[in-house]
């Protein structure tokens, strides 16, 4: 919230750090935030999506980092676009269970910017604050993919 809301790329680390591997996105965002870059805002959003409405509304492009289940081996890191996410069968009745993609749709009136998602297949989603070894091991891979994706998204300098 205190960050500059006008940015080229917004990087959002998603997930609950109290639920083991669900915190992988937040952990990756924390490390990325240690090296600030012009035009790039990195936030450890966690689950508090609705506290980032300015960035959701204004960012030119968005990179989400999160645990993503797609039936692959735990620790598998993949790059998705927002069209790859399963939004089938949803009957939207309450913002209490709002996903970040829903929030983008609400705050940008259905017009999505470029959204990329770096996902890691979780091994354990249960109460705890530690990442599994299989996830810890691939954090450098997630960071490298994030940096590459950010530079592609922010190809023009401010």
């Amino acid at each position: 919230m205190n960050s500059n809301s006008k940015c080229r790329v917004w990087v959002a680390g998603l997930g609950n750090v109290l639920m083991c591997d669900d915190g992988a996105g937040v952990e990756t965002a924390r490390i990325l935030a240690e090296s600030p870059q012009s035009g790039v805002v990195v936030s450890e959003v966690g689950t508090a999506i609705m506290f980032y409405t300015n960035l959701i509304s204004d960012a030119e492009s968005i990179l989400l980092i999160d645990a993503v289940t797609s039936g692959k081996k735990p620790g598998t890191v993949s790059l998705f676009s927002s069209e790859d996410m399963d939004e089938s069968g949803k009957l939207w009745r309450s913002a209490h269970e709002l996903s970040l993609l829903d929030a983008v749709d609400i705050f940008r009136h259905g017009k999505r910017p470029t959204i990329k998602i770096i996902g890691v297949e979780p091994e354990r989603i249960e109460y705890g604050m530690e990442l599994s070894p299989s996830i810890k091991k691939v954090i450098p891979e997630m960071l490298a993919l994030a940096r590459k994706t950010i530079s592609e998204m922010a190809c023009t300098n401010i």
Partner: protein, 466 residues
């Protein structure tokens, strides 16, 4: 023949909460004849606080919930204030209030326009408003268009509320500014001026848009002042301290039974949690939260919820804006779906007006915290309010570390299952008997559920790839 319908009003995927209703004819009227409100999340956060540094509590508990991090931060530091017997300087108190107050106001605005409105109007024809139950729509096209226009403005106001909170709170959410003994930010005149501008804009919206819309809803759906009442038992812990001695609060604590206009004095010692219908060991039932245990057992006969049943003097109590406004003497028209909606809107106004007063009390240059010394051993609790109702944290310290921690959230009160005496939870009682036109699409039940502003978005966030 009766129809059994499961409503998943809160969720699409994870299933944090569900409402099972049985609809049947009773005295010739089709209505809810049985109801079970279930929370599907184990209260596991409390257990892993054990063994940690006491000052970790305000950082970890803020992560319990993506909707209410600020109230959890407030409750956690109040618990540590109490443990260390530290008084908070006025500048610290006021800043805590301002950040929490801004959170209440933006949460109420969000509730009305984003969480409740879809039960009464069809949303804009765009993602993610794909489909809703388009039944019992009573507003005409112009009124509906007006409400959708206000919804767009409400989004802007939600943002302003957050920006206001960030003026003093710094980072938002998960503000590190709440500390035992006070608040970290040293207020400046610029910050006061900036916050005042946000407060003026919010008050303008509340007075000229939100309250008129809530009143219009209550008038067009006037029958909902008779629907969804429940027990009429209301409880507030009180919140927003207005003096250093902790005697004067914007919302006084208290409780009433059966819609009484006369409030009684609240005593923390009357709170217990019962677990007969929750997946917790029966040996842990009827414990006070200060001695509370969170020991799961699954499966278990009769149990249907991962929530415990908090009770006050063994009575199920409704918490939330209506309870607060009732205890403060600002609103006591009745207990129903529309009374909850109206009390919430009037409360947003009352808090915003109070925030403007508090700003004038800040003394630039005065201290913002007192040093604390947290004892190695002892017990303490912190009672405050979240936008959706009473929130309490209970702490036990041993050897300088957390030996036990219990959290009772507002939704635990409202959405609790039956208790040991089989009394329905407050939301269950409010749903019971609701007349339903179409058992396949019981919009009437959803309106009751959403009037409580239930919050069960408290855990996992996993996306699914195709």
């Amino acid at each position: 023949m009766s129809t059994f319908t499961i409503i998943d009003p809160i969720t699409r995927i994870e299933g944090h909460m569900k409402v099972d209703v049985t609809v049947d004819a009773h005295r010739g009227v089709q209505q809810v004849v049985d109801v079970h409100v279930a929370g599907n999340l184990f209260r596991g956060f409390e257990n892993f606080l054990v063994g940690r540094e006491p000052t970790d509590a305000q950082h970890i508990t803020q992560r319990i919930c993506g909707v209410c991090p600020i109230p959890h931060g407030m409750a956690a530091v109040m618990t540590l204030d109490a443990a260390s017997k530290t008084a908070i300087p006025l500048n610290g108190l006021i800043q805590r209030n301002l950040v929490l107050g801004a959170n209440f106001v933006e949460s109420h605005i969000l509730h009305f326009y984003l969480l409740s409105a879809l039960d009464y109007i069809d949303g804009p024809a765009q993602r993610p408003w794909l489909s809703s139950w388009s039944i019992d729509r009573r507003f005409n096209a112009d009124q509906t268009a007006g409400l959708i226009g206000h919804y767009l403005k409400a989004i802007e106001m939600k943002r302003k509320g957050q920006e206001a909170a960030a003026v003093f709170g710094g980072k938002q959410p998960h503000s590190p500014a709440y500390i035992p003994g006070g608040f970290t930010n040293v207020p400046t005149q610029e910050q006061i001026t900036m916050f005042a501008q946000y407060a003026d804009e919010l008050l303008d919206f509340i007075n000229n848009v939100y309250i008129p819309d809530a009143e219009a809803l209550a008038s067009v759906y006037e029958d909902y002042t008779e629907i969804g009442g429940g027990y009429g038992n209301l409880l507030s812990f009180g919140c927003f301290d207005e003096d250093v001695a902790g005697k004067k609060k914007l919302f006084a604590p208290g409780y009433v039974l059966k819609g009484s206009r006369k409030k009684s004095t609240f005593a923390e010692a009357q709170i217990t949690e019962q677990v007969k219908y929750g997946w917790y060991k029966n040996s842990t039932s009827k414990l006070k939260p200060s001695k509370g245990k969170t020991e799961a057992t699954y499966p278990k006969d009769d149990a249907y919820s991962w929530m415990k049943s908090p009770r006050y003097m063994n009575a199920p109590m409704e918490v939330g804006p209506l309870a607060r406004m009732w205890m403060s003497g600002d609103y006591n028209e009745g207990v129903s779906v529309m009374d909850r909606q109206l009390a919430r809107a009037y409360e947003a106004q009352k808090i915003t007006e109070a925030m403007k007063r508090w700003l004038a009390q800040i003394r630039v240059g005065d201290p913002v915290f007192n040093k604390t010394s947290i004892p190695a051993k002892g017990t303490a609790f912190g009672l405050t309010e979240a936008p959706r109702g009473a929130l309490g944290h209970w702490l036990k310290l041993e050897g300088g570390k957390i030996a036990a921690y219990q959290v009772i959230t507002p939704t635990c009160w409202n959405c609790s299952p039956r208790d040991d005496k089989k009394q329905l939870g407050p939301m269950e009682k409010a749903i019971m008997g609701t007349v339903v036109q179409d058992p396949e699409r019981p919009v009437e039940v959803l309106r009751v559920v959403h009037s409580f502003d239930p919050c069960l978005d408290c855990a996992v966030h996993v996306m699914r790839a195709k």
